[in-house]
């Protein structure tokens, strides 16, 4: 167990390192002058040159990478010689010259929106998806099963942005059941918060729930064929115990994996839903940063989002052992 843990942590760290190199190369080494992008259209060569030095874009790539990475752990100072140096304390993900703000503080400001969006949708899709999946599996081949499968197929065939636009059109514009979405914190205005979030939650939840219904159903059916379930039945355990304690516990492992990774992916920002429902989360922030060619911000968000997935991968692997008694970590 300890050896497994150490190996898994080392693997995760090496993946994170490779990831940082990949993200860095992808965005910083592409053609185009990042220094030129730091100031708008009315820009003089002198300002560009000054920004290039301040941001360290005149350094060789390796130096830039080392500076970037050490900034995450020890913080860094941009343009130390100038009269107003920009101090970026650890963990420093960079500085957006476009917005004159640290990348991390921009991310921290947008993160709660995405967090609430992801968590709310997650709860709905797990509750709906897993319970309907089990329900369908227990009635295999009969009409409730077919209904669930049909709903699931339509759910994942419906492009989420089209479904989102449909909801916007009917619920907000046509019937005016809800006001036009504008984000407020749940602690300031709980009602307004729910009114804003309910539609994006539904859109995201339906997309994922459709997939989880199938996954759960297939998983449960597969486990029902396993020997240990037959044994449990043969022992004369009540059907309820067989389903809940034996079959579900073993069948849920892949669902835990999928759920962990999907939640992590969503926490990095739901670009389409945030776009349609006017939510100022990480997805909206990343789209804005792309529109403004704000390289430090794009790099920061991508690195953070991808790291989330890698860390989630690690946690999910550990959870395996907890959920499924058959898994031994060696």
């Amino acid at each position: 167990m300890a050896a497994y843990l150490v190996r898994r942590v080392l693997l995760m760290i090496s993946l994170l390192l490779i990831l940082s190199v990949a993200v860095f190369l992808l965005f910083n080494m592409l053609p185009g002058d990042p220094a030129r992008l730091t100031c708008g259209k009315s820009c003089t060569e002198a300002v560009i040159e000054q920004n290039r030095q301040r941001l360290g874009y005149d350094d060789p790539p390796l130096t830039q990478y080392v500076k970037f990475m050490s900034g995450i752990f020890t913080g860094r100072v941009f343009s130390p010689e100038s009269p107003e140096p920009i101090v970026c304390a650890a963990p420093c993900l960079g500085y957006s010259f476009n917005r004159h703000e640290q990348v991390l503080s921009l991310i921290v400001r947008a993160a709660p929106v995405t967090f609430w969006l992801a968590i709310g949708a997650f709860i709905i899709w797990i509750a709906v998806g897993v319970s309907l999946g089990i329900f369908a599996a227990l009635r295999r081949g009969r009409w409730p099963d077919r209904l669930v499968l049909g709903v699931s197929l339509i759910g994942y065939s419906l492009p989420s942005f089209f479904f989102g636009l449909l909801l916007m059109f009917f619920v907000v514009i046509q019937w005016q059941w809800l006001p036009y979405p504008s984000y407020v914190s749940p602690f300031e205005d709980p009602v307004g918060f729910l009114q804003t979030m309910i539609l994006p939650w539904i859109v995201l939840a339906i997309l994922y729930a459709a997939f989880y219904m199938r996954l759960t159903r297939n998983q449960v059916l597969e486990v029902f064929n396993d020997d240990f379930v037959r044994t449990a039945r043969a022992k004369g355990l009540p059907e309820r115990t067989v389903v809940v304690k034996h079959a579900l516990r073993a069948g849920l492992t892949p669902i835990v994996t999928a759920a962990g990774l999907d939640l992590a992916g969503l926490l990095g920002g739901a670009i389409i839903s945030e776009n349609i429902f006017n939510l100022p989360g990480l997805g909206a922030l990343s789209v804005e940063s792309i529109t403004n060619s704000d390289l430090p911000l794009i790099t920061g968000i991508t690195l953070l989002t991808a790291s989330l997935i890698i860390v989630a991968n690690f946690i999910v692997d550990l959870l395996y052992a907890v959920v499924d008694p058959r898994v031994r970590l060696v």
Binding site: L15, I18, L19, A22, L26, F27, L30, P31, G32, L153, I154, Y156, S157, L158, P159, S160, F161, F162, L165, L166, M168, F169, I173, Q174, R214, N218, L221, E222, G265, G268, G269, I271, I272, N275, S286, V287, I290, S293, I298, I301, T302, T305, A306, S307, I309, I310, N313
Partner: protein, 309 residues
């Protein structure tokens, strides 16, 4: 009793499935429309680029007739501001959507299959490195990357000699979908190869001194058609949706060309006045994707009727 090949068996099973046949018809019809529609439509004066300013008002460019200007000349209405025919745009847009989704699926399948087979059969360091590469690619927020790299990489394709503008943009989408799509299939294929390579027929081929390429692609590959076919039929609709989603976000073909996503993105500006802009391309998109998915499911059932799904 005559022996039947797997293809005959699968086809016979599919023929019995009415839903699958209907979906196959819809899908074939859509491809036919995408391929021949623009030629045939041309004879009837179907032109997605022709501005018909008579159908829109002088102020603001709103279609004069209700429901987005639906009339005998323009059965699905006209575009706001230009008066271009929506029906013609749909047919031309369908062509671009299908070109992108079909080519991207093809490249994804080739990449995923080859890499999956090689990684699974070779094992060892190659397998480990491929596995890590897949982990890395799957960790990337690909929608974000598609948006972020579109400007620079489209330009780079243009510099490499691809015609400027939409051809470069279309090729970019095809390539970027493939690059982020192959690991899923490669994982499936690798898993299958791991068990296939222990089978007797592979051992026999090795003992006979067959070359590696022969073992990989003549001995092992034919056993993988079922999962590959199923994966391809389910990836294609996913790419149609993805293409619509990224063009909705502004990466994709530029006017006067259009796709479902571009039409839907455009509809947002007018949907409280002209909801047909939202409904028409959206409905066609959903019908197309649902048909593909249902057909993919049916193919999977036909290939493996005992499997649980």
């Amino acid at each position: 009793m005559v022996g039947r090949s797997l293809r005959q068996i699968v086809w016979a099973r599919l023929r019995r499935d009415k839903v699958a046949m209907l979906c196959l018809f819809i899908v074939t019809f859509m491809y036919a429309v995408a391929i021949f529609g623009p030629f045939i439509g041309g004879f009837f004066g179907l032109d997605p680029y022709k501005l018909d300013t008579a159908t829109i008002s002088d102020l603001g460019g709103r279609p004069v007739l209700p429901n987005g200007g639906i009339s005998p000349q323009h059965p699905l209405g006209v575009e706001w501001g230009t008066g271009r025919d929506i029906f013609a745009q749909l047919i031309f847009g369908l062509r671009i959507s299908l070109v992108i989704a079909t080519s991207a699926t093809f490249i994804t399948v080739v990449l995923g299959t080859v890499i999956g087979i090689v990684a699974g059969y070779t094992g060892g360091l190659t397998d480990t490195l491929m596995g890590r590469l897949m982990d890395l690619i799957l960790a990337f927020p690909f929608l974000l990357i598609i948006l972020a790299l579109s400007g620079v990489l489209t330009q780079r394709l243009t510099n490499l000699g691809v015609p400027e503008g939409n051809p470069s943009r279309i090729l970019y989408l095809i390539l970027v979908f493939s690059v982020f799509g192959w690991p899923y299939l490669a994982r499936i294929v690798r898993g299958q190869v791991l068990s296939l390579r222990e089978r007797e027929f592979v051992e026999a081929a090795v003992a006979m001194g067959a070359r590696r390429r022969r073992i990989l692609f003549s001995e092992i590959l034919p056993n993988l058609w079922a999962p590959i076919l199923v994966y391809a039929t389910l990836t294609l609709p996913a790419y149609i949706g993805l293409e619509a989603a990224v063009s909705f976000l502004g990466v994709g073909v530029l006017p006067p060309e259009t796709t479902f996503g571009a039409m839907l993105a455009n509809s947002v500006n007018y949907m409280n006045v002209v909801p047909t802009y939202l409904f028409i391309p959206g409905t066609v998109l959903v019908v197309l994707v649902v048909s593909f998915n249902l057909f993919g499911d049916a193919v999977r059932d036909a290939l493996d009727p005992k499997a649980i799904h």
